[in-house]
């Protein structure tokens, strides 16, 4: 064999061996990697399942806290209304009926009452008008009874924050 052919043949042989070696390495590595990917996929699926369960638990607690908060905001301390009326009503005014209705969510209080005269009623209205807790006031059904007293019906809307606890 001529000397100039030995060198390229040797190089070619080394290259073939390297190619074959790396080919075998890639085959083995690919097989290993495919196995590892499968392992990771099943681990990932198990984690996913666990995450869903735990998320469900957290979501339920969060939903309950949020619902509780929103209900608490709407929760009305109706006793505040009685305390307010007792404190802000002059001694001349006598209430004969009380009606609170929150079914339409506007917290309307209707009180029927009687006053010895129009001046006392006007004074009472003046007191209520100055109160920040009252968001709406409407006087209706005014008449004079057989005792000469002024009979009236008063519709009062209280501001929503008025019903919050501690007011």
């Amino acid at each position: 064999m001529p000397w100039w052919l030995i060198a390229p043949a040797a190089i070619l042989l080394v290259a073939v061996l390297a190619l074959a070696g790396s080919y075998i390495y890639f085959m083995v590595a690919n097989k290993k990697m495919a196995g590892r990917v499968n392992e990771l996929e099943s681990e990932s699926a198990a984690l996913e399942k666990n995450i869903k369960i735990k998320e469900g638990e957290v979501f339920l607690i969060r939903q309950r806290i949020e619902d509780f908060n929103s209900l608490l905001k709407k929760h009305k301390q109706l006793v505040n209304t009685f305390a307010f009326l007792e404190a802000k009503t002059t001694k001349d005014i006598v209430y004969t009926s009380f009606d609170f209705n929150n079914i339409d969510k506007d917290s309307l209080v209707v009180v029927d009452g009687k006053s010895p005269n129009f001046l006392a009623l006007a004074q009472q209205l003046d007191i209520f008008k100055k109160e920040e807790a009252i968001s709406g006031l409407n006087l209706a059904d005014i008449s004079i009874n057989e005792d000469g007293e002024v009979v009236f019906s008063l519709k009062v809307n209280f501001a929503p924050e008025f019903y919050a606890s501690g007011k």
């Binding site: 080919y23 085959m27 690919n30 984690l47 509780f68 608490l72 009305k76 009685f82």
Partner: protein
């Protein structure tokens, strides 16, 4: 031997071409597969790691929430799960009435329709929803008893809304001399209340779109 010598260049070139072809057709696809699998493995590893971290995060949050077990129990008692029985609720109302000096005259579910709604079952995805159970009561007692009752209902851990209250004073009696007697501090109060419950509702499955007919 002479033959090999004569064609040695051609043989060498043929071997090189064979080598290159083998490299291109066998080795190169395996190499690409190796590179792709490496990337997939890296991605899957990262994905799993992220999920593991996320799960740890959720578990840590659950652990934090477990420190507030008492508060969670309070919330659960504020909005209990509806068990198709109003006995506990009505028993609470009766007890609160008597504790505050009121006589319970009448108690009933205000809206039968809403209870029917609660009992309704449909197939589909299950979700928790708050439902209000309205009921009304008539009680008799003094004005201060009513105030105490309302305070007790408000302060109770179970959230019960007072939707309506109405009462009126009776005309004072007249004595034999025609003078009006001092009015009695005794009223009949009508109250509309609403308790909140959690119910496991089932969202109806939306009907599938009709298949298009082939023309």
């Amino acid at each position: 031997m002479e033959y090999i010598r004569k064609y040695s260049l051609a043989i060498t070139l043929a071997l090189v071409v064979l080598f290159l072809a083998g490299g291109y057709f066998f080795w190169w696809p395996r190499y690409n597969e190796y590179k792709t699998n490496g990337k997939i493995l890296e991605y899957k590893g990262l994905e799993t790691e992220n999920k593991r971290n996320y799960l740890e995060e959720i578990e840590a949050k659950i652990n934090i929430l477990s420190d507030y077990q008492e508060e969670i129990i309070k919330i659960n008692s504020a909005i209990p799960i509806y068990d198709f029985s109003e006995v506990a609720l009505f028993s609470f109302i009766q007890k609160t009435c008597s504790e505050n000096g009121l006589v319970l005259l009448n108690l009933g579910l205000a809206d039968q329709q809403s209870v029917q709604d609660i009992n309704r079952q449909v197939s589909g995805k299950k979700v928790w929803e708050i439902t209000s159970l309205p009921f009304d009561i008539s009680v008799a007692g003094s004005y201060s008893s009513l105030k105490n009752f309302l305070s007790a209902v408000y302060k109770n851990s179970r959230i019960i809304e007072v939707e309506a209250v109405s009462f009126s004073a009776e005309e004072p009696e007249v004595d034999e001399k025609g003078r009006k007697k001092e009015p009695k501090d005794m009223y009949e109060f009508d109250l509309e209340l609403a308790a909140n419950y959690y119910i496991e509702k089932t969202e109806p499955v939306s009907p599938a779109a009709p298949e298009e007919l082939p023309l």
